[in-house]
């Protein structure tokens, strides 16, 4: 786009807030009762992250199952929300669908196939996950949105991305930047989209990036400061 720097977000925003909220209303009606299943999956992930499974048969597979469930949610949002629904309002939704599909593939490859994701209990990550699962769907209606327009983890992009950030902050070892980039990017895009339409809940995805980035950066710095073990022969 020529002189792209002269364009503000509202210049390229091609739909209204009303149409965006109606999109969720129609989407929720069309996919019902998938929301119930998604919330159940979310509770399952939350239990898997919170409850100790040592000694049970699930312990070995816990992390893989969590990664698989998250990948399934990202794939659902990619296909059913972005490619089929959001694309009726904006052609950029096709790019978002590919992005969400890529995140699903990364979660599958790193977390399920290679088994490189393991989790530990940390309050910050768990709080962000629970915020996306329980609190975020309530904020819209509290700010005046219809209950039929709620955004629910597993089927809507924002709570899915924010919950994923929470889960990834619980990962043991190094910060999983390769898995965090797309959720963070989506939060920025979604927040900017909502801001350009003066949405009262625009702050949610933007605010979610702050604690996620802060915890991830502090973890990365802490690991860097940790003395390295040198083996002398």
């Amino acid at each position: 786009m020529p002189e792209w720097w002269t364009y503000t977000l509202s210049d390229i925003q091609s739909f209204s807030l009303h149409s965006y909220y109606r999109l969720f209303e129609l989407y929720n009606a069309a996919i019902w009762p998938a929301q119930v299943i998604a919330v159940a999956l979310g509770l399952g992930i939350g239990s898997g992250l919170h409850l100790p499974h040592r000694g049970s048969g699930l312990h070995k597979w816990r992390s893989r199952i969590i990664a698989a469930l998250l990948a399934a949610c990202w794939l659902w949002v990619a296909i059913v929300f972005h490619a089929h629904r959001y694309a009726t309002l904006t052609c950029t939704a096709r790019c978002f669908a590919w992005g969400f599909g890529l995140e699903a593939a990364l979660l599958l490859w790193i977390g399920v196939i290679r088994g490189r994701l393991t989790f530990e209990r940390r309050p910050a990550g768990l709080a962000i996950f629970l915020f996306a699962l329980v609190v975020q769907p309530l904020i819209g209606p509290l700010l005046g949105r219809s209950w039929r327009q709620v955004e629910i983890f597993g089927v809507a992009p924002d709570p899915t991305a924010i919950a994923t950030l929470g889960v990834l902050l619980l990962a043991t070892g190094r910060v999983r930047w390769e898995l965090m980039v797309l959720p963070l990017l989506w939060c920025a895009i979604s927040g900017a989209t909502l801001l350009s339409m003066n949405a009262p809940d625009a702050w949610i995805p933007l605010a979610a990036t702050v604690p996620s980035l802060s915890v991830a950066v502090s973890k990365a710095l802490a690991r860097r400061r940790r003395p390295q073990t040198t083996i002398l022969i």
Binding site: D11, S14, F15, S16, R22, T88
Partner: protein
């Protein structure tokens, strides 16, 4: 910013002298009670267009929402009933073209429709297929006007559009810009190419085009469509917090929308303003700007001073 245009009552009256010809447009219903709809001739052919059209940016991009599509169709119905003709869209506007096509089908394709769309793709080679896709969305045999959206790849698209015009597959060719961008370039295109239309942003607060673009359009006999008449609604939200000035009656304005629109279309170079709305009451207010008296130069200065002081 001081007012820059010079417009006498005589100029104004002469530019609107043939307004009666618009009665031939035969609006679907009651507009005739307010007298003839005001129109201006397209310089390249003399065909007359009502001075208020209908934009579709944002407002008609409602996706698959059938209730919202029906609302848009009602907006179009009211627009035609009040004597409107020109509807403008673009492939950039999401589902707007499909929604217009849906509305036209519901309204059984009103004969007075003047179709204005755009080509918006960086590849010149893919322009024709995009235009064809747009035409299918609208469900019309051909477009009346095709414009190059924001001058994107205009060197590649213009030969295509001129060839289509020569072959009778489009009646008019134009270029667009918005928000004051690329005015130097659009001026060069206006000077060098046989355009029928140019589309620019012009409203009571954004008047940069008064300096060069509008005078050049008159000189080169190019019709002018003006977009963003209400700054995407922000301008009208600002002025509507204040009471309607008493002098509004002198220009037959019953509301702020009509003051803002009549300021735009009272410029003698402007053929048509294209406010967008998703509400029937608003489209009727907007359509009212195409009736009655238009502001003269003194009134135009007054409108600018008043709005700038708010």
């Amino acid at each position: 910013m001081p007012p820059r245009s010079t417009l006498s009552r005589r100029t104004l009256l002469s530019s609107l002298a043939a307004a009666g010809a618009a009665s031939a447009l035969r609006p679907l219903s009651p507009a005739a009670a307010r007298g003839p709809v005001l129109s201006r001739p397209i310089p390249s052919t003399g065909e007359r267009l009502p001075i208020v059209g209908l934009g579709s940016w944002i407002t008609f991009n409602v996706g698959d929402d059938s209730a919202a599509r029906d609302s848009c169709a009602e907006v179009m119905r009211a627009f035609f009933q009040d004597g409107g003709r020109l509807i403008d869209s673009s492939p950039m506007y999401g589902s707007s073209q499909e929604v217009i096509g849906y509305g036209l089908t519901r309204l059984r394709r009103p004969s007075q429709l003047f179709t204005a769309d755009k080509v918006w793709i960086s590849s010149g080679g893919r322009g024709p297929s995009q235009i064809e896709e747009s035409r299918r969305h609208w469900g019309v045999p051909r477009f009346d006007l095709l414009q190059i959206h924001n001058l994107m790849s205009w060197e590649e698209h213009l030969p295509t559009l001129f060839a289509m015009k020569k072959a009778g597959r489009v009646r008019y060719v134009g270029v667009t810009t918005s928000e004051g961008r690329r005015h130097d370039e659009i001026e060069r295109v206006m000077r060098s190419q046989p355009l029928d239309f140019v589309q620019v942003t012009y409203n009571v607060l954004d008047r940069e085009v008064e300096d060069r673009i509008l005078p050049l359009a008159r000189e080169r006999k190019i019709a002018v469509i003006t977009n963003r008449p209400f700054r995407q609604g922000a301008l009208i939200r600002m002025v509507e917090r204040h009471p309607l000035p008493a002098w509004a009656r002198e220009a037959d304005c019953a509301n702020w929308a009509q003051i803002l629109l009549k300021f735009i279309v009272s410029h003698p170079a402007v053929n048509c303003a294209i406010p967008a709305t998703s509400r029937v009451d608003h489209v009727r207010q907007n359509a009212g700007a195409a009736y009655g008296r238009l502001p003269d130069e003194a009134m135009r200065r007054r409108i600018v001073a008043h709005v700038e002081a708010l």
